[in-house]
Symmetry: C2
Subunit: 689 residues, 2 copies
């Protein structure tokens, strides 16, 4: 069914009023804040407006309609375009619990508070903070890559919940992006993936304004974007004038009629359109235009030059009325279809309810994967693969994959019916991201924004390639699970380029993110459980390449201690020294502990797999685990030293990596860098003094 809704000649005047209202609100808001980006909203107001008024499936009373089209402003600095649209559309606010507040998503007062503390109109659009913002954007390229995840989610949701007579999920995803998005590598990765998956529900609108901050884009950017996207397998269209709303409508129509490829619409625009002295220059990009220039621009629009934050009568309700007229019945129909599903397949409908609410299936954490004591043990990546598969069987909307490393990261879902997600098999749960870590992270964020619980995986050292979306998952409070294996010099012969050193610290330094590095197979089970139990923060699960002993949990403490971030794993009466370790070094700490015991030296081993959770415990618990009176301490971790002072103090010893690693077999590396029982025992004794 084509998406376009009919328009009438009589509303054309109001349409133009709305377009100019978007422009003038953007100018006025930036001017009042004396901060922001007016030029792109001025240029793209006709694009945004044409899309919203004639194509975007959106119900202003139900901005959480699961089957709404998604509008992503990847060019997040043009936030006033989005805020203006949300205002004119009369979108109604919904709080974090899904409850209507009775307030507009964006009032005119909110627009006057643009970029002010605690306003609903921050400098860049922030998901969860402002109703109608589908994803947090600003860091360029991220919105583009998020959109691929959103479009994949539609395919998967449709495959799962649609029936011949029920079309619960057939939404489209529209993205506004600029030169910066086109230049960033993450968009290239995402575009290649979208073409590969033939995501015909995805439409990127490329604002070709030829102006970047340093000047004309010709300074640095002269590629033929259309040809490049043809190479990715996209349908490419060109609109030569952003003000030609009929040409835009025709392009959107062509998009809706394309069923085998994503669509790129390149739109030539004039940044700061209408501002006679600044349009088409970098001066219109990122600062207030100034009162005089604003007056001249308003004059050019046929606007009252002396008005400010003016929303004319003809614009005040026009977009909302249009949306209600075109999508009201469609929304009701969707609700009826959902009701039909509930009656026919109540369990499936319950799944969808839980997905929308961010709840897990009942009993998802019953009968957790347990591993027997085993001195030889297994790599935590291997344990992780088993645990993931066990959970995934119980959580049908847990899906994910790897950046072409699943045989190494062990994250493939291997049970019957898991399948591989592809253009022809959109119900598959194994995602093949290709060697595109950055897009993988951002696509996972897009999936999470559409009810799915995604995981990703690659080697820990390549977390560097995907840090920007990890950060955005944390800012957006999305419970994405990022699996990172090959987490230390245990990588061995691949050498320093593949051996992470600083990465644990990097992840721990990121606010709002859990970093879990389990110390054996049973801690791995707990780590996955904790990560999946999160509703409002992402987790990194950091796993070893090499085998690790599965500890005897009758003799040592239960792995459930992981839930508190750190716990006493092995103890003695009146311990004289505390060995603190994470991940693959927990086993080393236990071995050292046993040798100290044999020598009559009472010691304690603390497993500290998640610093963030440990810091969240009350002071009493932390003191119980790490009593201040025991100052003799040895930290053991195959990662950089930064941060360990918190736990070992100024006088503690640290068996850590103070340099990059080296290419050699693992045993040689362990010896070279001091990760031996003898060295830990020696340092422990020195600590006792």
């Amino acid at each position: 069914m084509p998406n376009q809704v009919p328009t009438s000649a009589s509303s054309a005047a109001n349409d133009q009023l709305c377009i100019n209202t978007l422009r003038t609100l953007a100018m006025d808001a930036v001017q009042k804040a004396n901060s922001g980006h007016p030029g792109t909203p001025m240029a793209l107001a006709p694009v945004g407006y044409t899309l919203w008024s004639r194509f975007l499936r959106y119900h202003p009373e139900h901005p959480d309609w699961p089957n709404r089209d998604r509008f992503v402003l990847s060019a997040g600095h043009a936030s006033m375009l989005l805020y203006g649209l949300l205002h004119l559309a009369g979108v109604e606010e919904i709080d974090a619990d899904g409850t209507k507040t009775g307030q507009p998503a964006i009032s005119l007062d909110d627009i006057k508070q643009f970029r002010q503390m605690d306003s609903k109109t921050p400098g860049h659009p922030e998901y969860r903070y402002t109703t109608g913002v589908e994803t947090t954007t600003g860091p360029l390229g991220q919105g583009c890559a998020n959109s691929v995840g959103m479009a994949m989610a539609q395919r998967w949701l449709g495959s799962r919940f649609n029936r011949d007579d029920l079309k619960l999920f057939d939404y489209n995803v529209y993205v506004i992006c600029g030169d910066g998005d086109m230049m960033e590598g993450v968009s290239s990765e995402a575009a290649s993936m979208a073409g590969h998956l033939k995501l015909s529900n995805l439409c990127w609108i490329y604002d070709n304004n030829t102006i970047s901050i340093e000047g004309h884009t010709e300074l640095a950017f002269s590629e033929d974007v259309m040809t490049r996207f043809k190479g990715y397998g996209w349908n490419t269209l060109h609109v030569t004038d952003a003000n030609d709303t009929e040409a835009l409508a025709k392009a959107f129509e062509q998009f809706s009629q394309t069923h085998d490829a994503p669509t790129l619409i390149m739109v030539d625009s004039v940044i700061g359109y209408g501002a006679p002295n600044k349009q088409n220059t970098a001066a219109a990009h990122g600062e207030a235009l100034g009162d005089d220039e604003i007056k001249l621009a308003k004059k050019a629009y046929g606007w009252d030059e002396n008005s400010s934050f003016s929303v004319p009568e003809g614009a005040a309700h026009h977009l909302r009325d249009t949306l209600l007229a075109h999508h009201g019945e469609r929304y009701e129909q969707w609700e009826r279809q959902l009701q039909t599903l509930s009656e026919r397949e109540p369990e499936l409908a319950e799944q969808l309810r839980r997905m929308r609410a961010g709840e897990m299936p009942a009993g998802w954490e019953a009968e957790l994967e347990a591993f027997d004591t085993d001195a030889k043990g297994l790599a935590t990546r291997a344990a992780g693969g088993k645990v993931l598969n066990a959970f995934a069987k119980k959580i049908p909307w847990l899906l994910g994959g790897s950046a072409d490393l699943s045989p190494s990261t062990k994250t493939n879902l291997t049970f019957d019916g898991a399948g591989s997600f592809s253009a022809t098999e959109p119900g598959g749960r194994n995602l093949h991201f290709g060697i595109r870590e950055h897009a993988m992270g951002a696509i996972a964020n897009g999936l999470a924004l559409c009810y799915i619980r995604p995981y990703t995986s690659t080697f820990l050292v390549f977390s560097d390639y995907m840090k920007p979306p990890i950060r955005l998952a944390a800012i957006m409070e999305l419970p994405v699970v990022f699996v990172f294996t090959h987490d230390s010099i245990g990588v061995g012969e691949d050498g320093p380029t593949h051996q992470p050193i600083e990465h644990l610290t990097q992840l721990r330094a990121t606010p709002g993110l859990l970093t879990l590095r389990p110390g054996d197979a049973n801690e791995t089970t707990q780590a996955w459980k904790i990560a999946l139990a999160q509703t409002d923060r992402p987790s990194c699960i950091v796993l070893s390449r090499q085998p690790m002993a599965t500890l005897d949990r009758e003799r040592f403490a239960s792995a459930e201690g992981v839930a508190r971030g750190g716990y006493v794993l092995a103890d003695s009466d009146n311990p004289q020294v505390i060995l603190i370790a994470t991940g693959s070094e927990v086993g080393l700490a236990v071995e050292a502990y046993e040798q100290l015991q044999a020598q009559g030296i009472p010691a304690r081993v603390v497993s500290l797999p998640c610093w963030e959770l440990f810091e969240e415990q009350d002071a009493g618990y932390r003191e119980h685990v790490l009593p201040a009176a025991v100052t003799a301490r040895v930290a053991i971790e195959q990662a950089g030293p930064l941060g360990w002072d918190r736990y070992v103090g100024a006088t503690g010893a640290k068996v850590v990596m103070n340099s990059f690693g080296a290419s050699a077999p693992i045993d040689k590396l362990q010896a070279k860098f001091g990760f031996t029982v003898d060295n830990v025992v020696k340092l422990a004794k020195e600590q006792i003094g």
Copy 2:
């Protein structure tokens, strides 16, 4: 002048022997190490060999010849291909000082030590570690982007040192890359830039083997790479059989005759070629083939099945002899041209000598930029711009630029003659990287590998986009300067997506990297001086968006203390509390200090702009700055807390960012997050107790 060197029918048999020697050495080395990647060397031996024997300008006795062609193995996992070539070419070892050791770069024994501790044949090729390795590769896409920097360097060097009759720099850059390189976004950024700059001296050889780790590349990668590269403005060629050395030679010939665009040669290959059961499967990619399969492959090559590490007589000297025959005279001619330059323009020749030796011009640090005391002050980004320009005037080979943010990062070189680097003006010193942070970092590494002192700049939050090349600069010990401005919530209204929190910690966690966050304009001068004085490590200079007071250096200590990483800036007799700050918070610490003084409380302010340098000081100095006896301490930094425990201990106070920031004017943010004089004074008093 075309690069191809003639070949004779008589040598064809030896050529094939060499090709098969490369293959069998790769198989044997991986088998012995029981670790590594045999399949790509087996597939690409004819490609590497044809290039080296007939096109690559290379003198085995002078692998540091400045005008040699660069051979970059971006597919670094195929390291045995490179090691094999270096061995067959008889390349002679040169140590870090540029002295010949009398040893081969790679002996047969070295190949037998593949992937062993301290061998010259680590898992991935490591620059500085093995003569003939032009750049450290392995993390995919990096070599591709490095190569763009190397090709740009040729343009710049040629513009500076060539004369009508002297062609000191006209080298080409060849890259071997694979599917992974094609998928990674950084290569896309770099390719777009190379096309824009019409780098016709750049040739990427794309190994289209259609096999990735998860299986056939069709799982995730179905784009039309050739069309995409046409979009970037590249010349694209296709060789349909990697074993067709004449077709390869023809393609290289076409490359050398193309003068207006870089060239992509897509070569269809069979991974693990010759291994009957494993070729063309992922099993040939990343593990030893096994003795049986190796025997079968050797049989297929017409090799002695029972031989191991065999280099037949016809292969032992053939490549070296070929290279000497073809490039010996050319090298001599180059040396004569250099001599001519020395006679005609001794100062210029001296510059080149210093560039090659990694030395600075004489007097480069005389008369440093000094800033007068100024309460209003200026942003350190603004001070940084002045300092950079002052240094750049004295250091002709200091060049760099920004990821489309130079008006904000203030890194433009503005003096006469600095100019912009472009396809038509290759002598320009301002580089326009476009909105491509990741490629920017990797291109800077490529420039640094070719005698140039590069700097880059963007906002600190976007250091996330370029972490992989920062890491590689540290691993390679390249003295690149990475400038990061807008270094805190001081960014203000742009909000949390643009406000770095964890980034200082990330950079500090990276081994071999200096992170400098100067506290006022004069500390900025020192920071730049320190960064430029480095010969074997990269530096990050972290600068503010907002103005900061320029401190009275008569009243307070000299900014030269930056050289020791941290120093006592302001003091009292018997201080009761130490305020420790970096960057924009140094001024806040001084204000709090003054208020404490006024209240009769003796305090000390320590400016700690570079943790790494401070840790390198002797214990006495560190104790002098931070006496253990003074435990009342307050750390002040607009960044995350991780790592500060080292300086304030378990009981110290931290005025830091424990969450993401927010979108609001700077003064509101400072108040919200506790960066006020009142708060610091309050905490200081609490610390004293």
